[in-house]
Symmetry: C2
Subunit: 582 residues, 2 copies
Amino acid sequence: MLSDIEICRETKLQSITSIATSMGLLEDEFQSQGKFKAKISLSSVKRLADSSSGKLVLVTAITPTPLGEGKTVTTIGLSQGLKKIGQSVVACIRQPSMGPVFGVKGGAAGGGYSQVAPMDELNLHLTGDIHAVTAAHNLASAAIDARIYHEQRKGYANFEARTGLTALKIDSKNVVWKRVLDHNDRALRMVTVGRNETNKTINGFEREDGFDISAASELMAILALATDLKDLRARIGRIVVAYNIHGDPVTSEELQVAGAMAVSMKDAIEPTLMQTLEGVPTLIHAGPFANIAHGNSSIIADNIANKLADFTVTEGGFGSDMGFEKACNIKAQASGKAPDCAVIVATLRGLKANSGLYDLKPGQAIPDTIFDADSEALTAGFKNLKWHINNVNKYGVPAVVAINRFPQDSDDELQQLKEMVEALPSNVEVEISEGFSQGGAGTIALAQKVIKQCSNEVEFQPLYKMEQALEEKLMAVAECGYGAKGVTMSYKATQQLAQFKKDGYDNLAVCLAKSPLSISTDGSIKGAPSGFDVPIRELKLCAGAGFVYALCGNVMTMPGLPDKPAFMNLDLDDEGNIIGLS
Amino acid sequence: MLSDIEICRETKLQSITSIATSMGLLEDEFQSQGKFKAKISLSSVKRLADSSSGKLVLVTAITPTPLGEGKTVTTIGLSQGLKKIGQSVVACIRQPSMGPVFGVKGGAAGGGYSQVAPMDELNLHLTGDIHAVTAAHNLASAAIDARIYHEQRKGYANFEARTGLTALKIDSKNVVWKRVLDHNDRALRMVTVGRNETNKTINGFEREDGFDISAASELMAILALATDLKDLRARIGRIVVAYNIHGDPVTSEELQVAGAMAVSMKDAIEPTLMQTLEGVPTLIHAGPFANIAHGNSSIIADNIANKLADFTVTEGGFGSDMGFEKACNIKAQASGKAPDCAVIVATLRGLKANSGLYDLKPGQAIPDTIFDADSEALTAGFKNLKWHINNVNKYGVPAVVAINRFPQDSDDELQQLKEMVEALPSNVEVEISEGFSQGGAGTIALAQKVIKQCSNEVEFQPLYKMEQALEEKLMAVAECGYGAKGVTMSYKATQQLAQFKKDGYDNLAVCLAKSPLSISTDGSIKGAPSGFDVPIRELKLCAGAGFVYALCGNVMTMPGLPDKPAFMNLDLDDEGNIIGLS
């Protein structure tokens, strides 16, 4: 079989203008960016406000291996399958981060014959939204350090007299807005900034800081959750960037940088339209990393898709404890639109990896032997899939299991897994999905089951209500969302919780960051663990995004590069084409 | 008069397709990026290789105030004037950096009725080239720290056995590739990276590092100097990122990241086409900061413009000691195309600031009194203009002085300045330029003088030849290019020079970084200083760009934000339009 980029390059694509008009956008509602990308104007959202909404299909997965189990392949494949049987459909996915593209996982365009195209443009820069988030984020960071510098250099009174501004008196030991870059760069996790050659302060005042990956920026969550440009601007203004020497929050509005940040993100708020290899319109918006971020595609993109198509297929990153949980508790509560059906992607490889019978090490290759027939491992790992089916049902969302077929998979084992799901008492459908090798033709049966499940009445149940106390909401996610025994909080987190409640932020949602490689917070525990605690080591206020972010276990918000990173394979050939991208 | 962004918004622009085709590009040689921007394919360079070349007009300036004296206004105004009198013309400018846009200077789109439009798109993100440079640069940085981490964590032998790669044995105290961001962020000038909570090494090994502004990245110079994608790829591979424990250079090729860096810059190598308010095609390419970088627009953009138009108007940042010097000694020697005429922008304000009679402090506003009639200050500051005229003539390039009129300027003083230039014995033309207030109609006389000077035979004389020794080339720029007494070198610079010569880099060009606010390396010395030394405190090898970079005096490669930064004025209005951008 050809490589992803070869398949992509051999496929004749439609012009993006024809994709845009065929999905029902008016000529002044999009601007082409080259032949195969377009930015969609928010005027379309306004025009379509009163149209009826289609069905929202949310693709989630079992607990994945570090390579992923093909959620985007299934999202794109299913959308192509729906199109093949005559349905109107739009796919909504998140913009890939360049960290994994250059790191270990590779791109996030799907794969095989179920790709968003051109996959190289999707995986690299796209229309610059992540760069805009990075730029806006780091502008605020520069603004914070500059303000501390200018206020402290000659004292607050001198600063006020000189500038006519009120001193913000930021406590340089209590700046909570870090910096970001869209790279896997572990050396930037903890840095000291403002260092000087001598004891001068020409470079500012030294303080501890760190970089997160851009997808984990609060601005990325704001981009995903904002309903329009005004809402984006208002949310940015509410961001708490630091505390002053009296312990009171300082916002980006007070720093007078919120307007400029919104200006920097003015184009990023427009979703990018592309197409799948079979011509399904696909909106790309907001960022990935549902482990350390909200990690769902945007409400704006969903809104456009929902109004224009009968089916919107979108995805939430990692297992249903991760992106799906956040899609239901954060995104659906913000948008008022719940998923009509969940597709749970399972693979033989991923379930065997969940058996606990393989010695899989993070950062190391998965042994090829995992593709050999191993009924014992499959049966042992099946409890993970069962857990995710029950989890999805808990929210009142009907489910379809999509068994994403890998080329190495045997018919026998696929059939075995299918029968195991069929034997479950739950109201769940199951189908083998061959989107990777066959495109939409390989997902027609899956598409039919999705349509069937979408016809059910959904009694959507998020795990918590906003008016509950923050600690109750954290417990709701830990206990109902992960099946944990309870929550333990570090001293630091306890203090932060008290601060947020005192400052009036008790009514925000909660966004838990944890390892995606386990339902628990310990990535080495596979299967369907129970009886564990969720240790919260730190909280972060994201008042603009509208949630409190909890760092659980040893989760990192800046990934690292492995010892043989994917970038080593990347190059340009003699004609200037990209090679080695997957 | 309306603000820049208001003028820009009121002007009816042509579609970029019509601009592109009218300048002679074929339909498959450009891709529109929205209505008013297009990326130009390098296939156009190939097609036009055998066409005859037009005249290259290089706009430079007197020693400017920190606000700039209107070099871009003059570049755009002159190109519009040339168009008005029936000439075929293309302007080539550099992409503005967001650092100054959010800092103090504002955008770099020109101003008034001589702007590149839409100015907000030009000043913010554009088509993402600077972001691509930033991303490619920081990918190499992450690759360096990751390699150090993986090689040192369990020892070189273990690394080699584990990966099959040869250990590079990078000396973590001798990494010469810093990180970059496109912001004014003084706190990032000196940072410690790889810090850890405890004495673990989970975040890598602690080392001293720092961030430069992205325009100062060697990759930006490579983008400006590369002749095609293959050349770009080869140059990237030659970059020396660090030295190993034996003191030998380690390149990005050896780090196996050069291919991925080139992939990341694949689209950035295509110039962006925009238009002036009067419809002159304008190519935007590469970055600014001719003080701390090469700082000229690209050879590729010039090549396209030169083949398609009779006149290409481009600019080199700051005074003729800065961008013009680098345009002649680095860029023209690399491209083989020398400027046919130089336009020296002078202002009454700028010359008075050069008189030494005003107490101007960097980072503080220029007093309005500088616009009052002050013949004494003008006469005293005139020596700076005289210096720049002589300097330009030294290269054998005919000159035209463009007196860029500010709204506050009086006819009398403008006339006085004009007569002072006319009285000079040099073969120099002079004209008042009213591009800001009148657009092309205000630069017709200037355009005619430029055409006249372009008809002269140019006997172009760079200050040095590549085969000279590095120290001779440094002295040539210091002595002939600045009029210095000589060069003094720090111990560190002396050692670096010896290392570069030992490693075979003696035949590179030299690129001096210094204050742009003086002809000397001390920004507080105005006028036409002489008898000074050029103190070189540090050298940097830019083997990919093809020069050795010398840091002179106290020049900084990462600017800082002032106490009332320009970002405070920026916001979105109720319709989502940008306000406060200049």
